[in-house]
């Protein structure tokens, strides 16, 4: 089949760049025992770019995401082959501490996971506890900053000492975003962050993703194609554990190169 005529695309992330991408995978395969969740993925995630991972359920989006910050290996019996390069260095190199990797690559999950025994402020500061020592004032400043970045500050500034369980689901999810950004990671991974939220909560998170892009490299898994269209610059489509195609979001949605991609985005399966 002939590729559709290529149109000039404004997204800067598509243009070949000389710089090393912030995060990249190289022939990455993530295994569950002897079966693989996702196979032979080579993909680059650039700075100040939102990359959306889409594809039908079970195609390996979460598996790939969890391989990017070495969370995959926490499941017993799993392993990873290939490379994941953070600023050009392989995070799976022997001798690399996965804990350090996770401090540089933060993650937000599908369901909000506030720590129930900690207050709102303590939740945001949780990731700082494992970093260098901070004065009380510095920590309070970082907490405030993180909550502002997560667009939650105005709603919680008078109840920082209260339990996070009194917050709505959407607020809890923004709290989790604040917790993730507080230690200043370089990359933020979001695995279906709006799947458990109502439309207004989801809209909040989408706006937030746009903000996060200014400072971080963002990778988001979503089942919601409209959402991928709204928030992402690049979209990668996965099918049955393989990367089918990746490109600027507008191109993927208007002129997909592969028939599977077209079938998926036009709703013929998945």
């Amino acid at each position: 089949m002939t590729p559709p005529p290529t149109q000039p695309v404004p997204a800067p992330a598509d243009a070949p760049q000389a710089t090393v991408p912030r995060l990249a995978t190289d022939a990455l395969t993530a295994w569950y025992g002897t079966s693989s969740g996702v196979r032979d993925v080579t993909l680059a995630f650039r700075e100040n770019t939102v990359t959306a991972l889409i594809g039908p359920s079970g195609c390996g989006k979460s598996t790939l995401l969890r391989s990017l910050n070495r969370m995959h290996e926490l499941v017993p019996g799993t392993r990873v082959t290939g490379r994941v390069l953070l600023d050009g260095y392989d995070i799976y190199e022997p001798g690399i501490n996965p804990i350090q990797v996770r401090r540089r690559i933060g993650m937000v999950f599908q369901r909000p996971t506030p720590f129930p025994t900690m207050s709102i402020a303590e939740n945001v500061a949780a990731g700082l506890a494992v970093g260098p020592r901070l004065s009380r004032a510095d920590r309070a400043g970082i907490v405030e900053q993180a909550l502002k970045r997560a667009a939650l500050w105005d709603e919680v500034k008078d109840r920082l000492r209260e339990s996070p369980l009194n917050l709505s689901g959407g607020q809890q999810q923004r709290l989790c975003v604040a917790r993730t950004v507080a230690p200043e990671p370089e990359v933020i991974l979001l695995d279906e962050p709006t799947a458990s939220l109502d439309p207004s909560g989801a809209a909040h998170i989408e706006e937030l993703v746009q903000e996060l892009k200014r400072e971080f490299t963002v990778v988001i898994v979503t089942h919601n194609l409209q959402q991928a269209g709204r928030v992402s610059d690049l979209t990668a489509f996965f099918y049955l554990g393989e990367l089918v195609e990746v490109g600027p979001t507008t191109r993927i949605f208007t002129a997909p190169l592969k028939p599977q991609t077209e079938a998926y985005i036009t709703g013929r399966f998945g």
Binding site: M71, P76, R103, M107, F109, T113, F115, T117, V130, G131
Partner: protein, 280 residues
């Protein structure tokens, strides 16, 4: 039509049976409490809590030495047993998947089933004999041996209830595994663990057999950890089998105080759970 009537009949009959069974289960507790109050409440007065035993024939006297002794011995048991039991429970829940964890769990279950008098003999052989004398310390250790497996298993249950998503959230923040277990998982299970401690303490506070071989009992007020010490269940035992009416009355009163203590602990444990639920 007849089928339905029959079904209703069977239904009400079964409901009746379950009510009966429940009543039957509560009956002993009610009977024990009633009996204790009837026979013991009269002797529970100020002297009972402030005075120690007096020689036979003298009026007055109380259980102060036994109450303080029980508090000390149970306190010792907690000081030794709670950290070990809770730590073991957290280990079993968080890291106990392998062979070692399986072995520990098995040992804890076996220990849970060992009659407490055997644990008393065991403590006598290993502590009392080498030290050359009975002591509160040995008593505390004997109770701790009973405490640890109970606590390890209840703590394990409580820690297992913590959703895995919280573990992952902490690990994704760059928490080391041990910190995740202690600062996030164990803290989240905190109320449950406290409840487990209270229930376990209530359980050992009434133990008599292991103390016979270790703390021995004492007619006098003593706070010396390395010497024999009185305890409520021991004193109740001695007075109950003694020949004097006054002793019998005081034994009833001692038993009443003991059961109220245990009930109070259980109530506190329930309150902790309820407070936690409202918080969550």
């Amino acid at each position: 039509m007849r089928g339905r009537t029959a079904r209703r009949l069977v239904g009400s009959a079964m409901t009746g049976v379950t009510y009966g069974a429940a009543a039957l289960a509560i009956l002993p507790l009610a009977a024990i409490l009633g009996m204790l109050i009837l026979k013991g409440a009269g002797s529970v007065d100020w002297n009972f809590f402030t005075k120690s035993a007096v020689p036979v024939g003298e009026p007055g006297g109380g259980f102060a030495h036994a109450i303080v002794g029980t508090l000390i011995i149970v306190g010792l048991a907690c000081a030794v047993g709670v950290p070990i039991g809770v730590a073991t429970g957290i280990f079993l829940a968080e890291f106990g998947g392998g062979r070692f964890g399986f072995t520990i769990r098995f040992v804890a279950d076996v220990l849970n089933g060992v009659p407490s008098i055997v644990i008393g003999i065991f403590a006598w052989t290993w502590l009392v004999k080498p030290m050359g004398h009975f002591s509160a310390l040995a008593g505390g250790c004997a109770l701790a041996v009973i405490l640890v497996p109970i606590l390890a298993r209840t703590t394990e249950e409580m820690v297992r209830l913590v959703p895995n998503s919280l573990r992952e959230a902490a690990l994704a923040l760059g928490y080391p595994r041990w910190r995740t277990s202690l600062q996030v998982v164990a803290r989240t299970a905190g109320a449950g663990i406290v409840t487990g401690c209270l229930v376990a303490v209530a359980r050992v506070a009434g133990e008599t057999a292991p103390l016979l071989f270790t703390a021995l009992g004492n007619e006098f007020f003593s706070t010396r950890l390395l010497g024999p010490m009185a305890a409520l269940p021991l004193q109740v035992y001695v007075y109950a089998v003694g020949p004097y009416d006054e002793w019998h009355r005081q034994a009833w009163a001692g038993a009443l105080v003991l059961i109220v203590l245990v009930l109070a602990l259980s109530l506190v444990a329930r309150a902790v759970v309820r407070a936690k639920r409202q918080h969550a």
